[in-house]
């Protein structure tokens, strides 16, 4: 793609002011003038298209434009910001190919960033999503996603293995589940409990849900779990832990621990939802629950250490979601999937939250509104935190690794398991040193680490 921009000559009234209201006020004012208003703004841009077989250049136009736009925002270059937002607006579509989609969703975030309207837009998006949240749809989406991609099932298999091994022989199990996969993890575990040995243990499952996350949905889930457990012949108790607005608010007492039970804590996509400055305390609280094992699964991206450097955070965001969208494209195969669309829309909210919202993430202020923090950290970073509050890593057994490999075989090519501490981003000489390494295993897509799974116990 060959884009030629003329020397930028901004029309006099075009001032990108960092205030959404002001921008609209400005426009409104201008449109009150006579209809010849529209004639003032003539910025001529032409694109010469290279219609030869699509080169790599043409394929990655979205990343280039987005990057330029982010830089312009960081430099506060109003003219350039206008140019790039405008071009992205023209070229993007959430219903097209991967480039068009990335352009579309990132454009929304960049526009909100440039006009300081991130929090407001995010709140609107969240309330729309919550209004339309229903069990059947959510279930369809996650099941379809699990059918075409091991993105979530990888963590499930690794965690279940770690939990079963740690709680071997125990009679009363209490699993505290903070995850984002609608309990799709547990049927397999229940089945394993039922078939392993003669004495089926009693399982209590406490599921942590935020206040706003839809009571109806979790109720439905609970009923199904109870039914399934009955079918499996596993003595089962289902509990919901709710009534808080931030994960950081949770306390030991909220879990009503009992004397005779053994605790396992399952954190899938949970730690990133804790406000950054509350993470250490949160982990300390987890420690206080005296778990026999803590399983942690997180997506491999870092939106935390760079949160104050916009361009760096943007780059990381673009990298991660670029991979995710491509993965979705290849995993789903067809372009016309509603489930994929919903996953993409979910991503768009995350992107908006990370790039355009104040503080740790979108959501209300301290008025008791639920915070939607989405600041991911990489496995190495989480490992540091966990070790810092006196957790030590538990290696996944060979059997567990075999199970994971078997899982990956069931999916289309491109997926692999990475076990050494050396992942694609770490440099050569680091891996043997326990103190600097990280732990757990990685799911890699086309040799890029995307999901991290690990197990821990109090040291």
């Amino acid at each position: 793609m060959d884009i030629s921009l003329p020397s930028p000559k901004p029309p006099p009234h075009l001032i990108l002011i960092h205030s959404h209201k002001h921008l609209l006020h400005h426009h409104h004012q201008a449109s009150m003038q006579n209809s010849s208003y529209h004639h003032h703004a003539t910025t001529t841009m032409s694109i010469t298209t290279s219609t030869s077989s699509s080169t790599n250049d043409e394929k990655k136009w979205a990343e280039k434009l987005l990057r330029e736009c982010a830089k312009a925002i960081s430099d506060k270059d109003s003219t350039k910001i206008h140019h790039f937002l405008w071009m992205l607006n023209e070229l993007s579509s959430p219903y097209g190919d991967t480039d068009q989609k990335l352009a579309s969703y990132f454009l929304q975030a960049l526009f909100c960033k440039a006009t300081d309207s991130g929090d407001r837009s995010f709140n609107t998006l969240i309330s729309i999503a919550e209004k339309n949240h229903c069990f059947e749809t959510a279930r369809k989406v996650i099941l379809k996603f699990q059918e075409v991609s091991p993105w979530t099932t990888f963590g499930h298999v690794a965690s279940n293995c770690a939990i079963l091994e740690a709680l071997e022989g125990e009679a009363k199990l209490h699993i505290i589940d903070m995850s984002n996969t609608y309990c799709t993890q547990w049927p397999t575990l229940l089945e394993a409990l039922a078939t392993r040995n003669d004495d089926t243990p009693h399982l209590r499952l406490s599921v942590v849900v935020s206040a706003r996350a839809g009571g109806a949905v979790i109720k439905e889930i609970g009923q199904r779990m109870e039914k399934f457990a009955r079918l499996m012949g596993v003595p089962f108790e289902f509990q919901v832990v709710s009534g808080f607005t931030r994960l950081g608010e949770l306390k030991k007492e909220d879990f009503s621990l009992r004397e005779d039970e053994v605790v396992a804590i399952n954190l899938i996509g949970a730690l990133r939802r804790v406000n950054i400055d509350e993470r250490s305390d949160f982990l300390r609280m987890i420690h206080q629950l005296k778990p026999k094992v803590v399983t942690v699964v997180e997506e491999e991206a870092d939106f935390t250490s760079n949160k104050d450097v916009f361009v760096m955070c943007f780059e990381e965001c673009l990298r991660f979601y670029g991979v995710f969208f491509e993965m979705l494209q290849e995993s789903f195969g067809v372009s016309t999937s509603n489930e994929r669309l919903m996953l993409e829309r979910e991503c768009s909210r995350s992107i908006l939250s990370v790039l355009a919202c104040e503080g740790d993430g979108g959501g209300g202020g301290g008025n008791g509104e639920y915070y939607y923090c989405e600041r991911r950290e990489k496995g190495r970073q989480w490992s540091e935190r966990l070790r810092g509050v006196e957790f030590m890593p538990v290696n996944l057994s060979d059997d567990a690794l075999d199970d994971v490999r078997a899982l990956l075989k069931r999916y289309q090519g491109g997926w692999s398991l990475v076990t050494s501490t050396r992942n694609s981003t770490s440099s050569q000489g680091e891996d043997d040193d326990d103190d600097h390494g990280c732990f757990g295993v990685y799911l890699a897509w086309k040799d890029e680490a995307v999901v991290w799974a690990s197990a821990w116990k109090p040291s």
Partner: protein, 499 residues
């Protein structure tokens, strides 16, 4: 890019048995799509939706229907009474007539919603889909109203909702339409915020994809063939007993139209004429490829052929770029579409036509209000138009059909975008092609019976033929879906050459 120059053996153009009659007929301006009564439109849309759901093939089970799309609580979507108070409170300069119309529309819409709610029980699951579709369209219309009065903040909120809920892969055609319209309107709102007035910009980054989608559209829908074959028939008649002819195609795309004409020219009793072709298009490379293909084809048929590519949009063509020669008979073909931004096309093209003074102009245009009108009028016209096309596609292709999606995304989404985009910057009102041609002294030539026959034959090729309709009127031929005309073909001649 695979080129398929299908020879429609069954669609031989019909040799004119008579001299081409170019006595002009008095042209009664075709009924323009003016400020529509919104309640009638909504009724029409509702009727179409209910008919469409009755025709939906592969019987959806009740469960899958209620589950497959997002199901907002229906309470939320009843037309909000606030719509009226909002209007009363806003400062509109002299928008009173529109205001009243809208309010009347909302009232009768209320009645209609009640009517649809009382539909019989066995269509309950279709009814649910209806409700969803209707609700979304209502919200979309409210949003359009907000945009038309520059209440961008309100519009933005509604658009956030619409773009999160509507899916372009839904089984409901209405929902698909809403998904694309909402996105187009969101783009417009954003470009307004960015102060984008008339930014002359043709982002044809993906020419190949668009051409490919156009080709697919030609396969799954009869409209393009209708345009091609009715036009070819008229051109053939105009070329009767002429031995030097010059065809000017204002947007040739891949030139799918011309092989059929070449074939019949080659088999004329008096032998083929010498054919010159001047072809416009935005991608020079694509033009060259088209030229190569057509040249080869002509050569195989024994037609002496010249090809002149002009890498411009019709609105950017300087008359000097088109060489005419003495003694040649000129035909100009114009299949109007909205794939490019609508700026500046009309006047320049008109001037070009006046300068060239062709013997025949074959015009096929989309039945939509011109770009220079009011936004709301344009919006309603476009919604009507594209809903109909989406319906026609949905009647034969499943909701997950990849070709359908390709056409809807690469072609229709692009057109909707351009149609709804901010201002054309036209100084004067462009009243629609046919009106303007009359204004400038061109004379209409009624479409012959042969053209009508061509049109019928084309329709016979398409499975959902009972849905497509041909209307004759005012010397034009109109192809549409059910009651809505979509493409109108007409033939014109320059008054200066009546020989």
């Amino acid at each position: 890019m695979k080129r398929s120059f299908e020879m429609h053996g069954t669609l031989e153009l019909i040799h004119p048995s008579e001299q081409w009659d170019c006595a002009p007929m008095s042209f009664k301006a075709a009924r323009q799509y003016t400020g529509v009564d919104i309640s009638d439109f909504m009724e029409h849309v509702a009727r179409q939706l209910s008919e469409n759901s009755e025709n939906t093939a592969d019987g959806f089970s009740m469960e899958s229907l209620s589950n497959e799309t997002f199901t907002p609580s229906n309470r939320e979507y009843h037309p909000r009474k606030q719509a009226r108070t909002y209007y009363n409170n806003s400062d509109i300069d002299g928008g009173n007539a529109e205001e009243l119309q809208w309010i009347n529309g909302t009232q009768s819409y209320d009645n209609m919603i009640n009517m649809t709610k009382n539909k019989s029980g066995d269509h309950h699951h279709h009814h649910q889909n209806d409700q969803q579709g209707l609700s979304l369209i209502t919200l979309l219309m409210e949003c359009a109203v907000a945009i038309s009065v520059d209440n961008l903040e309100e519009a933005n909120k509604m658009l956030l909702e619409l773009t999160q809920i509507a899916s372009p892969y839904s089984a409901s055609c209405a929902e698909r339409v809403v998904a694309y319209f909402a996105k187009a309107m969101a783009r417009r709102v954003m470009s307004s915020c960015l102060g984008g007035g008339t930014i002359m910009y043709s982002p044809l980054l993906q020419t190949k994809a668009i051409l490919s989608a156009f080709q697919t559209f030609n396969t799954i829908s009869p409209f393009i063939k209708f345009a091609h074959f009715t036009a070819n028939q008229a051109i053939l008649e105009a070329f009767h007993q002429r031995d030097r002819v010059h065809i000017i195609d204002l947007d040739i795309m891949q030139g799918l139209q011309w092989p059929a004409l070449f074939h019949i020219l080659a088999t004329r009793p008096e032998g083929p004429p010498h054919v010159r072709m001047t072809a416009m298009g935005t991608s020079y490379e694509a033009l060259e490829e088209t030229g190569r293909q057509l040249s080869g084809f002509a050569r195989r048929l024994g037609i002496s052929f010249e090809f002149h590519p002009v890498g411009r949009k019709p609105g950017e063509v300087d008359p000097a770029m088109v060489q005419t020669r003495r003694g040649e008979t000129i035909a100009v073909h114009w299949l109007q579409h909205s794939l490019y931004d609508a700026i500046g096309v009309n006047w320049k093209t008109m001037r070009l036509l006046e300068m060239i003074a062709p013997r025949v102009i074959t015009l096929v245009e989309q039945e939509m209000p011109p770009h220079s009108g009011q936004f709301l009028e344009r919006f309603v016209g476009a919604l009507h138009y594209y809903s109909t096309i989406f319906d026609s596609l949905g009647a034969t292709l499943g909701c997950e059909d990849v070709n359908r999606h390709k056409v809807e995304h690469w072609m229709l989404e692009r057109e909707i975008n351009n149609v709804l985009a901010v201002g054309g910057g036209e100084e004067e009102m462009f009243g629609g092609w046919r009106t303007e041609l009359v204004r400038r002294g061109f004379a209409q030539v009624p479409m012959s019976g042969n053209s009508m026959t061509q049109a019928q034959l084309i329709l016979n090729m398409f499975p959902a033929m009972h849905g497509y309709t041909i209307q004759q009127g005012d010397g034009t031929l109109r192809l549409g879906w059910k009651e809505t005309g979509l493409y109108t073909a007409s033939v014109w001649t320059s008054p200066r050459l009546m020989r």
